[in-house]
């Protein structure tokens, strides 16, 4: 076969039954791709059920990776190579393929039984249909070949069958000209105490790679050269992981212990897992009895002088709402993370959405403003986590972070900082020798001092009742209430003075259309705007991290354009805010399908708006 064909970008989708190990396969392919120096972005998509009925469409688990030698901002619109382990995976994912795309199909997973389980006629010829649609079909007896490769193993048939994902991975490694080494090391490590399983997986991996080399089924082989990334040290990172490390870094920089409390909920639980394993870093992790106990125990820890954090998803945040109001009223530092998912109610637990913005901004009784930050991508979650902690501690306020399922489980390469590059965090602690302690006396930023128990002479009582200015004594005085509501509001609004100047992320710096993105829509919007701007269209992207308080110079930036588009994975929550705050006729692009925007969808919306103007 000829030398591998160089590609700038490629998108591979691994799809199989939830029991087929597709997440692990995708994760390994991602690590190897990252270490090969590509830029990348991943999107795991799995069912809410742990084991939905085997072989069925609801049981399909997918892992998509978009990688390239150029910048990659999304997990890819259309798939170049679909790896399908069974009929359900093939039939449900085929539409994601680009025209002429390749299918690597496990032909043993396409038999009558599998077709029936996928809800299809038993005599359907899926592979034939795919060829008729112009796809390049490579049919491989993955199940049989894996068993054949392991015929000398003493493992049970079931265990042998489980190694078929490694055969598949080996084959795809061959197809994209990748080394096996990293996955070999991973398998050696993972199954260090099960030598038989370790040997079988290694053998299957190598057999898959070897099969690619010897078979003549493939017309092409590909190579994606390293990306031209800025110099520095990189690692691949998932959103929940980056967020967790950001919190630990902030605790370190503030000199405080980190108290983290959570209640198991998808897709935030991985933060709880990360924290539970981080005792060595001074993290006190608490799995509370419910969402309310998770936030109130955090408030208790904050009163005691810890950096307190709690995370959840929409339904859990709803339960935490009353306590969040208490934190606003007490003016204690607290970070609350919402890893958003499809709602309302239980909604779509494993699918992504941005529909809790209104809840974050307004979902409390009374006038209860608090800063709200959003993560743009997995690696950005580190910066946002760190910034939120710094903000909470230095401004004595609860801060909400909005992440989402796409960011939480997605991954990308991260040019990580060293600890010494991170700014210090200086909470306004009151010390015993600071003189008289007046609990709600404010500094020039409107921030009160934090006296923690154990500080002699600063004994004081605080609570959820309205308090007299400065002293903090209970007060029902009407003028005082007005004053305190304003003081709390102004304290939060002053935080915007610390933001850097707002600029567009890419595209036109003025004139034409401004696309305003927030959260995980960053990547799709960036890709779309860059592509269209390159084609001479006057369009720019502004990405909003600080949803509250809004940057004070955002109004000026918005005024530099003639049209505004706000794409969101909700029915127009930021759109309302932009329209009402800046009095501009912005339009929305809205989608609530549990999946991110494709850049194509954003491009179409931009075109529609520009056509309308002309």
């Amino acid at each position: 076969m000829a030398a591998p064909k160089d590609l700038t970008k490629a998108t591979v989708l691994f799809a199989g039954d939830s029991g087929d190990g597709m997440q692990l396969t995708g994760g390994q392919f991602t690590q190897t791709t990252a270490l090969s120096g590509n830029d990348l972005n991943t999107f795991p998509d799995f069912p809410a059920e742990i084991r939905a009925p085997a072989g069925t469409v609801p049981g399909v688990s997918g892992f998509k990776i978009h990688f390239g030698s150029a910048k990659v901002y999304t997990a890819g619109d259309q798939v170049d190579t679909l790896v399908a382990m069974n009929a359900a995976a093939l039939s449900s994912q085929m539409d994601q393929l680009k025209k002429g795309g390749m299918i690597i199909a496990n032909s043993n997973g396409m038999d009558a039984r599998n077709l029936r389980l996928a809800g299809l006629q038993e005599d359907r010829d899926l592979l034939g249909e795919a060829e008729k649609r112009g796809f390049e079909v490579v049919s491989v007896e993955i199940t049989r070949l894996t068993k054949e490769a392991l015929k000398d193993s003493a493992l049970s048939n079931k265990d042998k069958d489980r190694a078929k994902n490694m055969f598949t991975l080996g084959l795809v490694y061959w197809l994209y000209d990748r080394e096996l080494e990293r996955t070999e090391r991973f398998l050696e490590d993972r199954f260090a105490d099960r030598e038989d399983i370790q040997a079988a997986n290694l053998k299957a991996l190598r057999a898959g790679h070897h099969y690619g080399e010897t078979t003549e089924l493939f017309r092409n082989r590909f190579s994606v050269p390293p990306a031209d990334l800025p110099p520095g040290r990189y690692r691949n990172i998932k959103g929940n992981q980056a967020l967790s490390i950001g919190l630990i870094a902030a605790a370190h920089k503030s000199g405080l212990d980190l108290f983290y409390s959570g209640y198991p909920i998808t897709p935030a639980s991985d933060i709880l897992h990360e924290m539970a394993g981080s005792k060595a870093y001074g993290v006190h992790a608490f799995q509370a009895e419910d969402e309310i106990a998770a936030i109130t125990s955090a408030i208790g820890a904050a009163f005691g002088g810890s950096l307190a954090v709690t995370a959840s998803s929409g339904p859990g945040i709803a339960l935490k709402t009353e306590a969040l109001g208490l934190a606003v009223m007490l003016e204690l530092p607290l970070v609350v993370i919402n890893v958003q998912r499809g709602g309302p109610s239980t909604g779509l637990p494993t699918k992504t959405e941005q529909s809790d913005l209104g809840q974050a901004l307004f979902g409390r009784n009374g006038e209860a403003p608090l800063p709200v930050l959003s993560c743009a991508s997995p690696k950005d979650a580190f910066d946002v986590g760190f910034e939120a902690c710094k903000m909470a501690l230095e401004h004595m306020t609860p801060v909400m972070i909005l992440s989402d399922g796409y960011i939480a489980n997605g991954s990308e390469p991260w040019k990580f900082p060293s600890t010494s590059e991170l700014p210090d965090i200086q909470p306004p602690l009151h010390r015993a020798d600071d003189g008289e302690y007046v609990p709600y006396k404010r500094d020039e930023k409107g921030v009160r001092k934090w006296a923690v128990p154990g500080t002699r002479g600063a004994e004081h009582r605080i609570g959820g009742l309205e308090k007299q200015a400065e002293t903090g004594h209970v007060s029902y005085d009407s003028e005082n209430h007005q004053q305190m509501v304003r003081e709390r509001k102004e304290k939060v609004e002053r935080i915007a003075q610390g933001y850097s100047r707002q600029e567009v992320s890419c595209g036109s710096r003025e004139g034409g259309l401004l696309v305003i993105s927030w959260g995980s829509t960053y990547g799709a919007v960036r890709t779309a705007v860059e592509r269209m701007h390159k084609n001479g269209i006057s369009v720019g992207q502004y990405h909003l991290r600080h949803l509250h308080p809004l940057p004070s110079d955002l109004g000026d930036l918005i005024e530099r354009y003639d049209q505004w588009l706000v794409p969101e994975l909700n029915e127009g929550q930021l759109l309302q805010l932009i329209r009402s705050t800046y009095l501009v006729d912005a339009e929305g692009l809205n989608k609530v399908q549990g999946v991110p925007f494709t850049h194509g969808e954003v491009e179409e919306a931009i075109e529609r708006m520009i056509d309308k103007r002309e």
Binding site: P231, A288, S297, G300, A301, L326, P417, P453, R461
Partner: protein, 337 residues
């Protein structure tokens, strides 16, 4: 500690006007707690009172220590977070029957099973006072209130049985009127290592006056009150010729002290779980008195100490290099120079 001399009761009073209704049982409890603090040698700056919502929950405003008046039912979980991170503090939770057993019931049972070293003072007045007279989870069945005009059909909680079910390591009952008993019970609660739950019968003279008079009025209390003292026989009734409880094959009975064999007398042992169950249910039978004092206790591992023990077994990673290693992970690569 203060430089010059030890703290006195007055040092624990704040400048805030106490705003309970005149005649409220809460005043007596506040006085006993203020008196007790210096006796226990507690330092103001190392003591925290945390409350939820309700009449009793105003308590922290009147104690010159650190204090947090939180939201309805959640004092227990605030205290858990505080104690987990600040085991050096003496933490006192003030709650009521509605706050602790209704809206905060979940946190109460979970605190008890975890067993942090805190004291819970549950003021039980069998009514919602602050919201002006609705039945509470301890109101007796059939009680007529503003929210139960035909009498409530709800079956009430028995807090001692609830605490046993949640594996509480200390439960005691006392009453606002008996100041000495109250103070001594609180002292024992403080001395117990673990979560100490003290049910304090507290008279609400506005919405539920006299609910506990059977246990406080001179004329009745001898017959209705069973004083629990470790190592002493369980006796009640006429002091000249009291009745004594017996425990035979798991069955409770009574005998006259003067005419019975002392070997047959039930000697109180709060560490005996089987007998504690019987004590928690004793007054379900109206022929028997209600137990006051420490019903049961258990020396069980304390939550924050178990956590500290785990932490001691893990080598700390608190340096800048440790954090750098966490940030970089073990699979990173270099681009360029």
């Amino acid at each position: 500690m203060k430089d010059e001399q030890p703290y006195t009761s007055k040092d624990f009073a704040t400048d805030q006007e106490v705003r309970w209704c005149p005649g409220c049982g809460d005043y007596g409890i506040l006085k006993q707690v203020r008196d007790l603090m210096p006796e226990l040698g507690l330092e103001r700056e190392k003591t925290v009172f945390i409350s939820g919502i309700g009449c009793s929950s105003r308590f922290p405003y009147y104690m010159n220590t650190y204090g947090l008046h939180s939201i309805h039912g959640r004092a227990t979980s605030l205290a858990t977070g505080l104690k987990m991170t600040r085991s050096d503090l003496s933490v006192w939770i003030i709650t009521g029957d509605g706050d602790g057993m209704s809206i905060g019931g979940n946190h109460l049972i979970h605190l008890l099973r975890r067993n942090p070293n805190v004291n819970i003072l549950l003021f039980n007045n069998e009514i919602y006072g602050l919201t002006k007279g609705q039945f509470s989870p301890t109101s007796e069945q059939g009680k007529h209130t503003r929210s139960s005009p035909w009498g409530t059909v709800d079956h009430p909680f028995n807090l001692s049985a609830l605490a046993l079910g949640a594996d509480a390591s200390f439960f005691a009952r006392t009453v606002d009127r008996e100041s000495k008993h109250l103070r001594e019970t609180l002292r024992q609660a403080h001395e117990h290592k673990g979560a100490s739950l003290v049910e304090i019968y507290q008279n609400c003279n506005v919405f539920n006056d006299g609910t506990f008079s059977a246990f406080t009025d001179k004329a009745h209390k001898q017959q209705n009150v069973l004083h629990l003292e470790q190592g002493a026989p369980l006796s009640f009734g006429d002091p000249e010729n009291p009745s004594v409880l017996t425990w035979k094959n798991g069955a409770v009975g009574t005998v006259e002290r003067e005419t019975s064999d002392p070997e047959s007398h039930w000697i109180h042992d709060p560490y005996d779980r089987a007998k504690a169950h019987a004590l928690s249910r004793l007054s379900d039978d109206l022929a028997y008195p209600r137990p006051f004092g420490v019903l049961f206790k258990e020396d069980r591992a304390v939550y924050e100490e178990l956590l500290a023990e785990q932490e001691r077994g893990i080598a700390p990673k608190r340096t800048e290099e440790d954090l750098d290693a966490l940030i970089s992970g073990d699979a990173y690569w270099q681009v360029g120079q």
